[in-house]
């Protein structure tokens, strides 16, 4: 019986992630457009794009190997699997007891590994450029991400993401805690970097001077590109829900009932769109910074997390 509920819940979660991740992307794009006094594409444009991509033929480079054809599917699968370990609208995650925060980090890491690896496959310069930048930044990014996340998980004393939100609330995790603010700012920096947004990376350009993530995807087309894009949107969605679990844990239902469940779904979507709106706002307000200044941003995130940890220990 327990297996049945696990499978059902996993299915619901997958559906949720697949369905709503393009919408979050749409919200961010629309926010940006409105902020810049443009009309912008419709809110549902990411869905139209995805459908178009998935229907189209792919052009694969003559120089490429089997990796180019395999990687889009793998990325899609890896991000989806990671999604089953992250809680979204419920306090628990579907497979929470079977894998923890580190598994999520390493599944994302494996996705990045194969994206960067396959970028070399076609033998062009853009792929390698994007890959080398991505991997160099990831050394700092991984450090900052782990540091901030550990500073939060330190409060509950486990890497299990199951029951994270109620645990955090039980430990007086909120506005009155200075460590909360420090880790919040640190995680925000990590969030912006990991979802590939301004000021770290510009997702809307194909200029070789500015791109990191897009550089690696330059050789994909058609269905492959669609899968890769969808995977990137899902990763963004998952990062946002992890962020919500860490810093806005309130509102998840403690008892199960249809009413509470609907309420929590609505609340979750509201929260995630608000965060998306906020990200769009940041992206409008700031310009992209130089690549070699990004490590400083990460170092400041690490420093904030370090301070937060000292405050934890002192309190």
């Amino acid at each position: 019986m327990e297996i049945f509920w696990t499978v059902l819940f996993s299915g619901v979660q997958l559906f949720f992630i697949l369905l709503f991740s393009p919408l979050v992307q749409g919200v961010i794009k629309k926010t940006k457009a409105v902020m810049q006094n443009r009309v912008g594409p419709p809110l549902l444009q990411p869905y139209y794009d995805l459908m178009k991509y998935l229907k189209k033929d792919s052009v694969v480079s003559k120089q490429a190997s089997w990796l180019t054809r395999f990687t889009p599917y793998l990325l899609f699968a890896l991000i989806l699997s990671a999604g089953l370990f992250i809680p979204t609208f419920l306090p628990i995650s579907p497979l929470g007891g079977w894998g923890d925060f580190l598994v999520v980090v390493y599944l994302f890491g494996l996705a990045r590994f194969f994206t960067a690896l396959t970028a070399y496959d076609a033998g062009g310069s853009f792929g390698g450029m994007g890959a080398s930048r991505e991997m160099a930044l990831s050394a700092f990014g991984e450090g900052a991400f782990l540091f901030t996340a550990f500073a939060v998980l330190f409060v509950v004393g486990t890497t299990q993401l199951n029951f994270l939100a109620p645990d955090l609330l039980a430990h007086h995790w909120g506005w009155e805690n200075p460590a909360y603010w420090l880790t919040f700012v640190a995680m925000l920096i990590v969030l912006i970097a990991e979802t590939g947004r301004i000021p770290v990376d510009n997702p809307d350009t194909h200029l070789e001077l500015t791109m990191i993530h897009e550089g690696m995807l330059l050789e994909y087309s058609g269905r492959h590109l669609g899968l890769v894009h969808w995977a990137a949107m899902m990763k963004q969605f998952l990062f946002l829900s992890l962020f919500l679990q860490f810093f806005f844990p309130w509102g998840v239902p403690e008892k199960m009932s249809v009413g509470l469940l609907l309420l929590s779904i609505l609340l979750f979507l509201g929260k995630i769109f608000l965060i998306g709106f906020f990200l769009g706002l940041i992206e409008t307000l700031y310009a992209k910074i130089r690549l070699f200044k990004v490590p400083r941003l990460f170092l400041s995130a690490m420093f904030l997390a370090f301070l937060a940890m000292i405050i934890h220990l002192a309190l």
Binding site: V60, G99, G124
Partner: protein
């Protein structure tokens, strides 16, 4: 067990003799590898027999002089390391059958075959040694034979340089071991490990701390820990590839073996700073080691630096275990030690695969510089696939074995913080775990860079374009070890079950470990991981996405096209090289590299140059600030001392007489 061991000794000795005797026939190198294959298979049986069946034991083989007996003992700890030796040894022996051909053609196969077998024998002796005398004898033999193996290509200048540095450093390490063993003998009056284990914990605390430091330096030099690592990235790349694999996968583990044996067995109760020191040294080795490795363009140099990183991780695990021990947290102490030993096993397995892969590349193209390669995945598909799996394990990604042990390491480090009894330990664990994460990201970057530039894209040189797939034996050797990467990744319980027995034999009670699910119960924060779940999910989703798309929207129609290059015709030189791939990293971690940048413009006008030469030199911190001054000091000292050697017979006589008088006076005083 005694006859078994004697048979093992005989196989390796006969193998080396056969290789020497058969030097005129084509069979000399095959004899060497077949005998080492037989020997390692026998060693596998021996170690499994001792690990599972508990059929260890001790015996003495040879009494050199009264009171000076070569004593042997096989217990769980040594049989676990024997397992590493035999698994990697079997794969490398199969691999050697193909790889040795080139050396045989050059006329170097005879000596190498003999040394190859003796190297196995010496490492076997290190593991079996039951007293300090036997141990040091075997340790020296291991160092010297490995030195000879490193020097196989001694007609090349860099090989000789690396070899001399290696032999100097390894003797420095042995010196510290001698000091530690001498101190122990002086205090306890016995050479045998059995007595040391019984009496060691009764020693005075300060003395034990001194012993700890001496042993740490001694074993740390062999294990390539920072800052004693400098021989490692030089010696590994210049040795023949199967020798590098053996050095990296097995010989470095002897350092881990020594540390576990002495820190846990002999030194007894622990001071809190020991564990913290090991955590820092391990963390620094892991992070700086891989940082220096990632910017290397030669495959084997990268792998060698990564060995320094992985030894750092193992030492971190040992440190965490010691720290938990001082806190009285026995469950996590055993868990951390289990993580360290498991990582040792895993590192041996994947580093074996990767060095073999690098060797196959070297064989096929005669270069290991990734800048001069490219496109090998089309020419050597099997090697490329196995190398990729090894790389995924090295970067510690699920579902391969590297992830499992690194996950355990993470958990042990984080638990230091989560269950911290004191302020300073609270931060230490998280800092160490973050270092582990950054080292992991860098390692992944290194694999991406080398696999991307060497195996993917288009051949950039003639050699790479003409590369051919490695012979069957070499691919078989790689595939054999790759099986274990998958096996221990999906069923880590097999390995942790064996390690559990080892740990119990050192005196720990261990938590329950199930074959499918890694569980440590009995704590307030239970930690779980289900390794089999990840490949299941990944395959399910790949298959699901593929089938769904095919069903709803039709099969993927793929057409081939040219790589996009802004419309200009494609040439192989457009592929990204290893040098350019490491450029952002060099600049981002500038303080670690002491960069020297030179830009030379040629031509009349600065804004319209005819040619630009751009050169970046990177230096490592340790060499510039530690070893260079040290070397200068030693040279200065040597010059001063040389003055007394003036070639004058009378003054030499004077030295002797003065020494004699001083000695007599000293004797009189006593």
């Amino acid at each position: 067990m005694e006859t078994f061991v004697v048979a093992l000794f005989l196989i390796f000795i006969l193998g080396s003799i056969a290789s020497l005797l058969l030097r005129r026939s084509r069979w000399h190198d095959r004899a060497a590898y077949i005998s080492s294959l037989l020997g390692t298979m026998l060693a596998l049986i021996l170690s499994l027999n001792a690990l599972i069946g508990g059929a260890g034991g001790s015996f003495s083989l040879w009494e050199i002089a009264p009171g000076l007996v070569l004593q042997y003992r096989l217990d769980s700890l040594s049989s676990f390391f024997l397992l590493i030796l035999s698994l990697v040894g079997m794969a490398l022996s199969i691999y050697g059958l193909g790889y040795g051909k080139e050396y045989a053609d050059k006329g170097k196969g005879t000596l190498m075959g003999a040394e190859w077998n003796l190297f196995f024998l010496s490492m076997l002796l290190v593991l079996l040694a039951a007293d300090a005398f036997t141990f040091l004898f075997a340790w020296e033999a291991m160092s010297l034979i490995s030195f000879l193996l490193v020097m196989t290509d001694h007609d090349r200048e860099p090989v000789r340089k690396a070899g001399y540095l290696y032999v100097a450093m390894t003797h420095l390490g042995t010196l510290f071991l001698f000091l530690a063993f001498f101190l122990l003998y002086k205090e306890l009056g016995d050479f045998s490990f059995l007595m040391w284990e019984k009496l060691g914990p009764t020693l005075d605390g300060g003395l034990r701390s001194i012993l700890f430091l001496l042993l740490l330096i001694g074993f740390g030099t062999k294990g390539g820990l920072m800052p004693l690592h400098i021989w490692l990235p030089r010696a590994h790349p210049v040795a023949p590839s199967h020798v590098s694999a053996l050095l990296s996968a097995v010989m470095l583990k002897m350092a881990a073996y020594g540390m576990v044996r002495f820190f846990f067995g002999v030194l007894g109760e622990v001071s809190p700073w020991w564990g913290a020191l090991l955590l820092w040294i391990g963390g620094a080795s892991a992070f700086i080691g891989i940082l220096y490795g990632v910017v290397e363009n030669e495959l084997k140099r990268f792998l060698a630096y990564s060995s320094s990183e992985n030894m750092g991780l193992i030492v971190m695990g040992i440190g965490a275990s010691l720290l938990f021990r001082t806190n009285g947290n026995e469950l996590f102490s055993s868990f951390a030690l289990m993580a360290a030993l498991f990582h040792g096993l895993n590192h041996a397995l994947f580093k074996g695969v990767l060095f073999m892969g690098a060797g196959s590349v070297l064989c096929a193209t005669h270069t290991q510089n990734s800048n001069r390669l490219g496109g090998l995945i089309h020419r050597m598909p099997h090697t490329a696939f196995l190398f990729l799996l090894g790389g995924v394990a090295l970067a510690a990604f699920p579902p391969l074995n590297g992830f499992m042990s690194e996950w355990m390491l993470y958990q042990s480090l984080l638990q230091i913080s989560f269950s911290a009894p004191s302020f300073w330990q609270g931060g230490l664990g998280i800092l160490a775990a973050v270092l582990l994460g950054m080292a992991g990201a860098l390692a992944a970057g290194g694999v991406v860079k080398h696999f991307g530039t060497a195996f993917l894209a288009v051949p950039r040189t003639e050699e790479a374009a003409k590369a051919e797939e490695a012979p069957l034996s070499m691919r078989l050797g790689m595939a054999f070890l790759t099986l274990f990467l998958i096996l221990f990744g999906l069923f880590p319980g097999i390995a942790t079950g064996l390690i559990g027995r080892v740990i119990q034999s050192i005196g720990f009670k261990t938590g329950a470990v199930f074959p499918l699910l890694l569980v440590v119960p009995e704590t307030e924060t239970e930690i779980f991981l289900s390794p089999l779940l990840f490949p299941f999910l990944i395959f399910l989703f790949i298959g699901g996405a593929w089938a769904l798309l095919r069903w709803k929207l039709g099969a993927t129609k793929v057409s081939e096209g040219e790589t996009w290059n802004c419309g200009t015709p494609y040439t192989p030189s457009m592929g990204y090289t290893a040098t350019s791939a490491s450029h952002p990293l060099l600049l981002m971690f500038r303080p670690f590299f002491r960069l020297e940048r030179r830009v030379e413009m040629r031509g009349e006008y600065a804004y319209f140059p005819k040619g630009i030469a751009h050169r970046i030199d990177a230096h490592t911190l340790f060499e510039q600030f530690l070893y260079k001054p040290l070397l200068q000091f030693v040279l200065f000292l040597s010059r001063q001392i040389r003055r007394i050697q003036n070639g004058n017979l009378q003054s030499y006589l004077l030295y002797m007489i003065v020494t004699l008088i001083l000695l007599l006076l000293w004797a009189q005083r006593g």
